[in-house]
């Protein structure tokens, strides 16, 4: 018999797998095959791809590290990253001490705890 949290892993994991399969079948194979772009945009994308087809250049890559704006963007990522990780990892923990009261309150206002 599986534990409750094991079911959670299965449910949350299966959603990811499902979306991956859906993406594989539904997403267009290329920009050209997509219906979301105009002919002009498709042409532009093709030209850009030709222009940028050169392989990765370390010189160009390292060059952006001399730009303070890139580091500022990176620092801002650290700042919002704390919230992102907190929300995805600790929201259940933050909520758990209120769970009992939640059940009561939600039953009162007629909201299904499962949405």
């Amino acid at each position: 018999m599986m534990q409750g949290w094991q079911y959670l892993f299965l449910i949350e994991g299966s959603l990811t797998v499902e979306i991956a399969l859906w993406a594989l079948l539904w997403l267009p194979r290329s920009v050209q095959a997509s219906h979301l772009f105009t002919e002009e945009q498709k042409k532009c994308a093709t030209l850009r791809k030709v222009k940028e087809s050169e392989s990765f250049s370390w010189v160009e890559g390292i060059h952006v590290l001399k730009d303070w704006k890139v580091w500022t963007f990176a620092f801002s990522a650290l700042l919002y990253g704390v919230g992102v990780a907190s929300s995805s990892n600790f929201l259940p923990v933050i909520l758990s001490h209120l769970t009992e009261n939640y059940t009561k309150a939600l039953a009162n206002i007629g909201v299904s705890p499962r949405l």
């Binding site: 949290w5 990522a77 919002y80 919230g83 992102v84 259940p92 769970t99 939640y102 309150a105």
Partner: protein
Amino acid sequence: MIKRLTDDTVQANLYTIGPNLTAVVIQLTTCYLSDRMQQRAWFSMGSILVSMIGWILLGSLDLVNHVRVGYFLTYLLTFGTFTPALLIPAWVGVNTPSASGRAVALGLVSMFQNLGGIISSAVYRAQDAPVYRPALITVSVFQGVFIVICLVLRIKYVALNRELADGKVKRVEGVEFKPGFRYML
């Protein structure tokens, strides 16, 4: 982690489904509008501000007696917390003209976001349970600084665009053949 989440874990997790599903809709709308209006900074700052209010109130209110308020706050919190994680990479990517530079810049951003995750797991200490007030305050302070930094970047790019418009700066490396080039704000 799993050991710490005990019996009511399943229930607590189920309660996160509501805010998270609503947040999906809000985030898609925010990103769509941001694309539509070609504005990154305002949308990042606005969404972080909404979630920052959620974090601050979650840490400062007496939620045991105001359960519905507490649950509403978790909605507020998920509305904006994740949005900059989508907008900032889009912003830095479009303002870095070379493909190799973009790869490095995006790698750097992603690395720093994960470093934020390390800070996050360090501030939720067992002795602060069950409210984790220091952690909630830490998150909101970080988000406050984020808003300032975002504003600084926007002001810088507005200035750069003005120089481009006035013709003071003639060429931007990597986009020499696009005279109408302007930075994303």
